[in-house]
Symmetry: C2
Subunit: 618 residues, 2 copies
């Protein structure tokens, strides 16, 4: 069911009911962009904290514009779920001229992707549901109360502050205009018309003059400025019999303003209902969805990862990421590609049995199975179905097999509160329930080398120590990981003795000294290009996520680190990735800089491409 | 006439013809936002360089999304113009996965404004015309040529580079898939089907395997990867009889790629045609339009103002700003409000006679007079009509009156190449033809004061020296200008002797020492609020643009410095301004910070409001 600002309040009670009655919830988000191109691209050897920082940056700049929520209610008897999928358009349309006027970033490729999937931006901007974080709401409420108190002390609330009234001298050329208007108001007051008198749009200065003139000459008239559909501002003259009635009108108006503020809280009410329900919330590759939801509807993202985990738990106390689940045994061996659509397909055949899911009355939109991938409600629906199927599969593996495994089952406990981390080979998830995995990266080295170096140079360098995985950082630096971890010590020893044009340090050393930069000169031989700080130039990264044979390839600085829509390369329906077929094309790229200028970066030529074998265990 | 990517190349020749045959051109732009909220708001005592820097910042971040162009062709005999108005949707949709992937900023209030005016964002994102600057174009062209050369050396252009071919070992689970595919290709090659064989979408790794397998087993087959409407990537198998035919196909493909690049140059061709034509280009309050057009279609905006002027002259050698014209004698006395719609209305009555303008065949969209303000083509059309009317009026004032004054007339020469500067009281325009006006600001002071100060405190302070104009900078600093300039010296002398809680310096001194900040402590008495640097906190500005009685009012940090759509306050149809009627409401505002977080700023209370009289000469 599609929900806009026009249907939101009509449906809100039903939505909250659906949340509270559900056995579990599935969510999904659509965004105006993924990667600012400025904060460093997610890379295979990120620590969880580094990854969080990188993603946080984009989440603070881009907008979540559609939120998918699907409530799944178990029918234990029929061994099936009833699903209620919702797609909410959300947009921070400024309520009035005192509302926050949010600036947000868009990424052309993401916009292009969404529009190609049929996303309706006109509907978003016209009918998107507003939202306020709890903090924004309470501040706005306090402000409104302060304003009302002041108005109730000071007479007509809309004119200037009566205690410090400064009258604008009426310019000659406005006198006729004002006199004519006063005549009209007089006539209106003497008449019986129950409707307010409309003063057609005029400019701000004239409206100011009208306020002060009317307040002076017609103390019992109640004036209001309204904004029309085309943003034109017109005024309404309301007749009041006496001071008491005038005050009553003012009270009504203030009550209305309070209701309007309540409306502004908007979609945040749904997030709060989810939080209050304590239900299991399922998502597919949901780190971005969670981080955006927190930032938009709860609070600004904290700098510290542990603080972030605390906030997440306060909003989504129980999370499950289906991409992590699918990438873990016993599923991993049957699911080659874990992008949502491929996961759905894989779960339709042996050894799996698709969970039985029916859509509730009034939610038939996705019933024909045609699907509407990347409509947030549909993606949430599919995610929930995949989860149900995988949960049932776990149940069937039991000593006493069960056909219908509920989300409350202990079997899914190992997957709770772990967010999948894309392309971090050795730390598959962010652990919301405690400290993250600590892994040895003793077989990983940081190399600084001349700009001219290609993959083949790195390969030759490491040739005695077996296959390598390269993770490009800039065009003169990368991480190199040894496939044969046991060779780490001898490699380091040999290579650090004979440094010619390159410089090698251990991953650990580099990580400790991130802010110190090795210049090319310090690597022995001067090279043509200066070493630039991380995050400022070209980021080239290899990729460790295509089972069973991992294909290392680079992506370019102005590209998404994830193909749109935030899925892995096996889906590859994105503009944000280099197709490995295109390796003979070198790439002309212009990256976006913070000053908004485009900056040319050197093409990454195909020689930097590297394919190598890698065990599944890596 | 509305032009999208679908009709652009069909119409391009006509458009260029219309440009070249015109007597003058009018332009207008629509943007995704106006004010980043970060770079400091335009203020009354900006120098031209300061103003340029502030506007440049926004222009580099926001996008021009609709360009209006109206070609006016004089018919001297009939003493009228024939108009051809065009609205171009322009959007940097990435052409392929190697194209620049532009990030751009949107301002919620601007988006909301455009959508309320009927702007079609779906059309923009789906059918917007692409564009490349000359520099982007030549780089892309060089890159394409390099790629073609390489491909022509190395055989099949799409596989991996043949000289350095690294074959991916085929994993077990892909062998059946590949064998089946090869069988199909074999069957296809033996058949007669003239259409290429379609390989349904598969993932990037599989496509890589297909490339290498097909290249090895079917050397005469030509493979292509295509991107479908939903971004899915599928492949085409083309039969070729022999190597010669294969090469011919490759040549065709390369020719097509060159044409595609040409298509990417897109809307920039129109800008280049305007530049080449050397025609007079008219705009209304056109600084933003010009700066955006340069940035998007010509080159990144230079830091230096004089360099910017040089660039402008290279693209628009002859400009005229109708807002400047309307604000100058002999027009100023008849035109109270110079926003475009109000200007249009003013020019319809005495002493003016609307210029005769007919729309050309096929351009009847605006004929019913209903108008479509803020559709760029219509605004350009109205701007051109206003210009024609004002030019004719100048002709009629001549000793020998003329009814029809052409843009080539010497009468309009005084208005050429001067861009209107909003709200700079004493420097009305940016002079593209030479140095800017140098004005004395000896009667202007910079004051630092406690946060608690209100307008009344400043008024009392300056009370002995007559009326003042206040231009708020932060909540503890402002410029104060004396209406009675002759009192400047005695005021400075007296006030700088008796500094209590405030600190006063001359405008000139402050301007020279902008980077040095006075702390409140240095002003004598410690106050509660620290002094924050310009541009980082609240900007409150008074406003010097409402004739005949100037109304000073403040605007808030998260507001536009100009009401959308970039017009002056007399139009006031914007969400970006505080209505002076709303002065009893204090304002809850959350401003946008560079880290994307919202930041609360103190409400500006109405006591800071100040109304004062001001002569027209100011």
């Amino acid at each position: 069911m599609e929900i806009t600002r026009h249907t939101f309040y009509e449906e809100l009670d039903n939505i909250i009911k659906a949340i509270n009655e559900s056995s579990f919830l599935a969510i999904d988000g659509e965004f105006t962009g993924l990667d600012t191109g400025e904060s460093g691209h997610p890379a295979p050897f990120d620590t969880p904290m580094e990854r969080y920082s990188k993603i946080k940056n984009g989440a603070s700049e881009f907008l979540l514009v559609q939120f998918g929520l699907c409530a799944f209610k178990a029918d234990a008897e029929k061994q099936r779920y009833e699903a209620k999928p919702y797609s909410f358009y959300v947009f921070p349309k400024p309520h009035d001229r005192h509302s926050p006027d949010r600036r947000f970033l868009c990424q052309s490729s993401s916009i292009d992707f969404l529009i190609s999937q049929g996303f309706d931006f006109n509907k978003l901007f016209k009918e998107g549901i507003p939202y306020l974080t709890p903090d924004q709401e309470s501040k706005a409420r306090a402000e409104l109360e302060r304003k009302h108190e002041e108005a109730n002390k000071g007479g007509n609330s809309e004119g200037s502050n009566s205690s410090k009234k400064i009258l604008v001298p009426v310019p000659e050329d406005q006198k006729t205009f004002l006199n004519n208007l006063c005549d009209k108001i007089k006539e209106y007051l003497e008449g019986e018309d129950p409707e307010p008198l409309v003063i057609p749009p005029c400019n701000a200065f004239q409206r100011k003059l009208i306020y002060q003139t009317v307040e002076e000459r017609f103390p019992l008239v109640h004036l209001e400025t309204k904004t029309g559909q085309k943003k034109e501002r017109y005024m309404l003259v309301n007749r009041t019999k006496d001071e008491e009635e005038r005050q009553k009108k003012q009270m009504n108006k203030q009550a209305l303003e309070k209701m309007e503020l309540d409306i502004q809280v908007g979609f945040s009410k749904v997030i709060r209902a989810i939080a209050d329900s304590g239900k299991l919330v399922v998502g597919h590759n949901m780190f971005l969805d969670v981080i955006h939801a927190i930032n938009q509807f709860q609070c600004p993202l904290p700098d510290d990862l542990e603080d972030f985990k605390t906030v997440v738990k306060s909003v989504f106390p129980r999370l499950l990421d289906t991409k992590l689940m699918a990438s873990t045994q016993p599923f991993q061996e049957y699911i080659k590609y874990s992008a949502l659509d491929e996961l759905r397909l894989a779960l339709q055949s042996s050894p799996f049995h698709p969970a039985k899911v029916v859509t509730a009355d009034g939610f038939t939109r996705y019933d024909d199975g045609a699907g509407a991938f990347h409509e947030a409600g549909y993606d949430a629906f599919v995610t929930g179905c995949c989860f149900a199927t995988m949960a049932n599969y776990l149940g069937k593996l039991q000593a006493t097999p069960e056909n219908f495994t509920l989300p409350s089952s202990q079997l899914i406990q190992p997957f709770i509160n772990k967010l999948f981390l894309m392309r971090i080979a050795d730390i598959p998830y962010l652990n919301l329930d405690g400290p993250d995995l600590e892994v040895s990266r003793d077989h990983v080295f940081h190399i600084t080398f001349p700009k001219e170096w290609r993959i083949s140079d790195l390969q030759s360098l490491f040739q005695p120590y077996g296959n390598i995985q390269i993770s490009w950082l800039t065009d003169t630096t990368c991480y190199v990981a040894l496939y044969k971890k046991e060779n780490a010590k001898i490699a380091m020893k040999a290579l650090s003795q004979d440094m010619g044009t390159y410089h090698i340090v251990s991953y650990a050393f580099h990580h400790r000294n991130k802010n110190l930069r090795w210049t090319a000169a310090s690597a022995g031989t001067p090279v043509s290009s200066p070493i630039t700080p991380l995050g400022k130039r070209k980021f080239v990264q290899s990729d460790g996520d295509v089972p069973p044979l991992k294909v290392k390839r680079h992506s370019l600085p102005n590209e998404s680190f994830q193909p749109i829509p935030e899925e892995d390369e096996s889906l590859d329906h994105s503009t944000g990735k280099i197709d490995i077929n295109d390796t003979t094309e070198s790439n002309h790229n212009i990256s976006h800089c913070s000053d908004g200028h485009s900056k040319e970066v050197d093409p990454v030529t195909e020689e930097k491409e590297k394919l190598f074998e890698e065990s599944d265990a890596w």
